[in-house]
Assembly symmetry: C2
Homo-oligomer: 328 residues x 2
């Protein structure tokens, strides 16, 4: 049995043990984001969330396998220190080993399909952005697929980043994946409120995963200037300018200045990390990533537990209303 409302893991600051615990305590499924954390930090996060809740929660792990890329030219062109750039697998094996010691309810993977799929004595989810990925993840034994549509904020979970890929909207992608595989689906991308939750459940998902909708919760680690940007109607776009991998964020100066950023993840992530840390500290929203889904302006500044309750009530009402619409 899957909880219908899932909080998306949001690496780089927004996801916190307090956020995950509050969501799980309210009947949703909270998530820790292991991405960019050291193994020691992840261990501390796990201890903290377990202190705050005895409910199930999930942990997301990056599983990229891109080949290293030299970004010295990009560093020079962008005026950044090339020494900051490096390849890393984000301590994949050590994180999986840590999680296997005392598994959370769900371990999810993003950016790739680990082969073989680590069986850590728990539910294993794999993020997919297309039918071919869904078929492969299903065949590998994933217990559920996180189906990420075009609308989603943050990084595209595609296993291979490429300009030739088609980014498919959540609604169409859910229908395509549902027709291709017989595995429970967790829909994410563009779900702003309880009506959106109801919509993806009607479209065949077992659960709705929301990220941007939780960014304004007091439990989230979202910095103040980022919160301010979210409550505007500023447009979003897909960019590789912050990390070398396609991601959706609110359009800002850095994105506009670097439309032709290279495919070089995670090298560009580390290359821009010092600039982004400084920009976050000084509230310079033109120089750090304002990851956000396309419906970001609808995010609500509520405690996470209240938000989960509200989403559930709204979803029930939306389904009731829809039933009257189809029956009239």
């Amino acid at each position: 049995m899957m909880r219908a409302i899932v909080q998306a893991p949001m690496s780089g600051g927004p996801s916190t043990p307090a956020l995950a615990a509050a969501v799980s305590n309210a009947g949703g499924l909270g998530f820790l984001a292991a991405g960019y954390r050291t193994v020691a930090q992840l261990s501390a996060d796990l201890a903290e969330v377990r202190q705050l809740t005895s409910e199930p929660f999930g942990v997301n792990v990056f599983a990229h396998r891109s080949a290293p890329v030299d970004v010295a030219e990009t560093a020079a062109a962008w005026g950044l220190d090339p020494a900051a750039a490096h390849w890393s697998d984000d301590s994949f094996a050590d994180k999986v080993a840590l999680l296997a010691e005392d598994p959370p309810a769900v371990v999810s993977f993003t950016f790739g399909l680990p082969e073989p799929l680590p069986l850590v004595g728990t539910q294993t989810w794999v993020t997919v952005t297309g039918v071919a990925e869904a078929r492969a993840a299903g065949a590998a034994g994933a217990d559920a697929l996180v189906v990420q549509g075009y609308e989603a904020g943050g990084h595209r979970g595609a296993w291979v980043d490429s300009p030739q890929r088609e980014d498919v909207g959540t609604l169409a992608l859910l229908a395509l994946v549902r027709a291709a595989v017989d595995v429970p689906l967790v829909a994410t991308g563009g779900i702003a409120d309880g009506a959106g939750v109801a919509a993806v459940l009607a479209a065949g998902a077992s659960a709705a995963m929301l990220g941007t909708a939780f960014l304004l919760c007091p439990e989230a680690g979202t910095v103040a200037s980022y919160r301010s940007a979210l409550v505007t109607d500023r447009p979003t776009a897909l960019t590789r300018a912050f990390s070398g991998r396609l991601a959706r964020g609110i359009v800002n100066g850095w994105m506009t200045a670097h439309p032709d950023a290279p495919l070089a993840y995670p090298e560009v992530h580390y290359l821009t990390a010092p600039m982004r840390a400084e920009a976050r500290a000084t509230s310079d929203t033109d120089r750090f990533n304002l990851w956000a889904g396309q419906a970001h302006s609808l995010a609500r500044a509520l405690p996470a537990g209240e938000l989960v309750q509200l989403l559930t009530e709204e979803a029930r009402e939306a389904l009731e209303l829809a039933r009257h619409r189809i029956d009239r």
Copy 2:
């Protein structure tokens, strides 16, 4: 009271009086596409659909107001006859006048907001692709808004085509528009089946509009080679290479060869028209527009009336299933 399932108008061949009548006779709302028809052809289409049904139906009219563009250089580069290219308003005023004589149940406008909005003694709908367009159409007195998401096949209905626009996915766009205006919404883009219909109704739409889903119906004017392309999993993309205006179609040779087509609608439409007509006649699917939404592979070759019935049943089942998911 709005019918929950609407057949999208599809100019250029697929929409026929027989398709519109079959949809309306089955309890949906069929649509004629006035675009690219002469006034005399539209008049004949209206007579034909009225002979086939006494149920309500709609007519879609193009309302673009782009300035004329010289496409001589494009014609030379593409090896096409520049004499074919010309600007046209698609006989907007004469078509509106014809419709006002004996109004169909709904007149919808695409590519712009006519000012003042023609009041032809019937329901007036306006296609929108963003919140600003939705606010303007609502303020102008539109009875409903056709909310077209990124997933949709065929032309984007944006009032001004521009590379700077954000194309928003159906699910996110519905939420944003619903929060901005208090007008009934007709959702379109990526709706492949009854679960998709249920999804947009749950997301707050009063009706679901499907285009690609009807392309394989025997009543549709879709040519055979186009039908064959639809039932594959070939990717779609947005292109200006066929018409000079952004539209989504199955990726083919002409699209791939001309990634930098100019913003020049309808001049490029007329420029490529002879090539496309010949390609359709010779089944050369690399040289005519295979407009299709992102879930095109799920289209079903059923008589339109049966399809409307099936979509309705599937939508009911999907809502029932979703209710169990949120209540468990």
